[in-house]
Symmetry: D2
Subunit: 355 residues, 4 copies
């Protein structure tokens, strides 16, 4: 049994961590950090936790926490962890950061897209990008895990095998993503009011969303070349869920008879299977089935479907996740399981809730 | 490990049974019955079950099923079970019926409100009304459990202690209930279309809803007198959840000093605590807190709050459940746990999902 | 053509006033008041008004406005108008107040329920309660109209004829109301965030909501006795609409044969028709039809249905309105039409939008 | 005053026609055709029309109707009008067809994508594609107008000026569209149930949706070359609204100094303005503003925004409409206005409703 501390436990991602860790056999939550609700009962902030969590919220004193906990989750605004992280903390506890502070290896890219100074770039090299299905082995050895963003997790995993196997031209990739509103956080902001979001759909952050360089960096590793993409997020009137619809031009590949041709359904499927057949959390759907966010709600699954369009020689790839689970807290727990040698699915065998 | 069969596994309540039983350590699902989808893969009907359930749907041959299963859940239309139930079936397997066939002891009341003939009234006396918190001991001995309705579970539990303790006049009780749309089932009917339900709220079945006599019968037992109430259900644009807002006139009770006065907050609270303090699934909220359906979503909890209105000498009681869990499948599993001597919370320690 | 000024034009009720007045043939909007958005283009605050409104927002200088406008609408927080209203203003312009400042005749009741001091009680006697169907003649003569609250408009009109005609016992009245979220205003508050409201239903302000004394005062006039009621508002995940479900005990009335009996369907219907048959905006539905908020969305209609429950000798009355139209801006325009002698339906012949 | 008949008046598009025509000064509805509800009061099928429409539904006898009406709207399933249209009908009345029967000039393309035989291809040449902003002059002369599809209206208008002016490569066009559920019609089908749509987003008809060839045909005319595109529709949990997010590679154009360069913001804006500045119903938003479907709800507007992505040399164009208004009934009325010489905005100066 290990002890976990959560800094930022009263945001939506933090609260989802609490939900998941309450069902985790090897973990006990030792610290509910929340600067906004210090000394208030956690269950007053989240009524669903009434009689399940008796603790009160604590301040975000990460150094003190590091001496009490085996693992620290930071579900905090950009810049927080970079501002307080020290070598001493990492010597005492593993850190899984749900913010973007250590996701990008290039500090200049970080500072350009996030418009804040990075206060501890010395940990960037060490940090492991915690996309478990891709970086499993590195995560196991890490002290500091950069938990991927919600859009990025979905966008990368949906295209990864096809880029890795050279079936698509990565620089033709266009990611059109649709997200539920919990991704915007629990801040009391006008654009997130019910009446502004409900019965509405819109794009935002067009050609400027911060998850763009994160997707590009990871896909560049897979492609072994610099990849530049279009990424457009949309806000959809639902609580949870991300659907990424991704478009790319197919590349002609060498066929058994020596000729070059666009990959067939079977060849694309084989590429997905090569990487995901043994992955519990990635479900490549049957032929012709399009993923739906509701089918993964509450779970750590990534559902993937695709359709080849022979008329345009493009492929349409679709991926669906629950943004708070595989897109945040679930993946963080999956990373914790890797860090501590627990079964990777411990606490995460959640059956999606429908309806 | 026992074997469970579900007849009506492709309705919403049946599907929720599947979700819950997949997480139950002592049960294995042996039969996914669905007349509409015979021979189809269950996971094609419910995409969330992809790679989690590999079975195909079977016909609803309950006699054959009774010889293979230890427990049979019938999540079927009214009249189905009454039409097929036999002594032989009950000798082979326990039956938990999610329909209304055995909820009312008086066959005439059943036939009046449901407008169908009851085909096996001989089992009515034996059937136990499976409201676990009230009838726990009888359930343990039963062969046939009548699993309560969704509205009724919520309506009864919210008022039960106050009626039992004589704090309110039961014949002044008015239950104004609001339900999510999954309660209407998965039938392809025009009034349940998204565009008809969304951005809309309405009452229906006013002064005629079938759950009325069920609530009245159970509250009559508690009151030890015949109780007649008003019950008005409403349809709310959400998937899950029932909120029952209940109004009743307080009765003056004898106080410590010998005088008679309306019960105080503390006296009402004490009545609730007397019945629910040790109940895991009933959460009586803190003073002044109103229950919200979202706080119990996905869980087997009943959240209860109340407010005394001294101006009118009435009390407003409020209860919230997830209609598919405590209002259907969850309570059915709770009943199964009682029937087989499993811990009552096995498979049901579900943390509500928020948001 | 008259000139109208709106103070509080960027709240939801203010914005609805803009929508309605843009379609009003006799009115021109001369002043878009908004303390929060001074000097910003109105259409930047409400994107739907792009190319329809070119004006910028102005400060809320009501004295200056009074000299420019024929009518002033104040869609402002409680206490604002009471703090600034003067005799001089009323000599220059008619004032229609959408806040509660002049709705209650008794200043003590106001100060008790609203917890603020009333700064200009001298205008209370003069103010006319602008429930057009009830107070039409007084409104026509008024300088200062207190536009009724959203819950109150719906609650009062639904029960009014039966109380006026003595068919129900007014002190048994229980109003269980359900509202869309626009009623909570456009303030950036956590409880109004999409993720907090969506997939959720809850009661609030139980036995303490400020619309209670307003309903009671008006129903007391109708009943010619002091009426005390229970009023419970609920928040429903939709943008617009209020449904009031109202319960009351029927009173035995003298029948044609001299005996006393509970009123029949026809007798109740006759009472409604007596008051509403000639009212364009009140639609008493056909027998057995329950109102739905979606059927009045975007319009100034009040839809009313009822069901007698002979088992309990109670009647269930149901009324539905669009809270932003008949519950706020629409009724304000209806009052303006009365004040200036325009056809009462001018600008308000809005066909409800479905779906 | 002309007489209009509607065949298919009880579908969502037909009902929206009724809503709009009730507010049209020059038109009277003479025929509410609905095969499913013959002899039922129209207001029983659509409760919002209570006391506004007293008519009963009639059969769909188009020949009889043609002798009574000046204009016939057919809001019917694919193949209906093609199966019944005759020269005689067209001699008596103008016909505006909201189905796809006469949208595609090539009968083979129609039969391939719709999988039904076209019964009256002889009218294809005569039919005018009723995209008013593009084909205004031809519509004025027409007897038979093919009213465009909802997705197509939005998709075409959003990209049209840039294709027409050669600023983008039309064969790189990818249209990712999101639609509310009313586009799926009022048929009682399982996938359109509230619980299936709510809290869910999914793509459907990927690389096979029937609106694809319609978009391609119209854009081919604009491009003066054969255009092949990717079009992916998505279902979003809201009643109304379509957002089309469109991606295309920019083409270098000749600049003032004789060099070739990608078009600037100003050059793209100028192209939009060239075609839309005088169009009442097309609103090209201010720089940096993304359209939102809620801002056009209930209105006939098309809102367009765009963002150049210099990193990829692509442009992201976004268009928003109300699928039932500009995407169906509103555009049909606009076409009627053109056909009969009414002001083009008559009956269509609808202020979008927000929230």
């Amino acid at each position: 049994m290990i002890k976990a501390g959560i800094i930022g436990a009263t945001g939506y991602a933090g609260a989802e961590l609490v939900r998941l860790l309450l069902g985790h056999k090897e973990t006990q939550i030792a610290w509910y950090g929340s600067r906004s609700y210090i000394d208030e009962k956690y269950a007053k902030v989240y009524g669903n936790m009434f009689q399940l969590v008796e603790d009160v919220c604590l301040d975000d004193k990460i150094e003190q926490l590091a001496r009490q906990a085996d693992v620290i989750f930071t579900a905090t605004p950009q810049g927080f962890l970079a501002g307080v992280l020290t070598e001493e903390i990492l010597q005492h506890a593993k850190v899984i950061d749900l913010s973007a502070d250590y996701r990008l290896k290039d500090v200049k890219t970080y500072e350009k897209w996030y418009q804040i100074e990075h206060k501890s770039p010395q940990f960037l090299a060490e940090a492991v990008y915690g996309l478990c299905e891709v970086n499993r082995d590195q995560v196991k050895q890490a002290r500091l895990v950069a938990n991927p963003g919600c859009y990025t997790t979905c966008s990368i995993l949906t295209a990864y095998p096809l880029i890795k196997e050279g079936l698509i031209d990565p620089n033709t990739l266009i990611v059109d993503a649709k997200s539920g509103t919990s991704g915007a956080g629990r801040g009391a902001k006008l654009p997130n009011l019910f009446c502004e979001v409900n019965e509405n759909v819109k794009a935002y952050g067009v050609a400027s969303h911060r998850h763009t360089p994160e997707i590009e960096e990871q896909l560049s590793y897979a492609a072994r070349e610099v990849v530049t993409i279009n990424f457009t997020p949309h806000l959809v009137p639902m609580n949870r869920g991300i659907l990424a619809t991704e478009y790319a031009s197919l590349k002609k590949i060498k066929q058994a008879d020596g000729t070059y041709a666009y990959p067939s359904y079977e060849q694309v499927k084989a590429a997905y299977d090569k990487y995901y057949e043994k992955e519990y959390f990635v479900r490549v759907l049957d032929r012709g089935v399009c993923p739906e966010t509701k089918w993964v709600e509450g779970s750590n699954f990534v559902d993937i479907g695709f359709q080849i369009d022979e008329r345009t020689a493009r492929i349409v790839m679709m991926g669906a996740i629950d943004n708070l689970v595989k897109g945040a807290a679930g993946q963080a727990v999956q990373n914790m399981n890797l860090l501590f040698g627990f079964p990777e699915t411990e606490g995460l065998q959640l059956v999606p809730m429908f309806p």
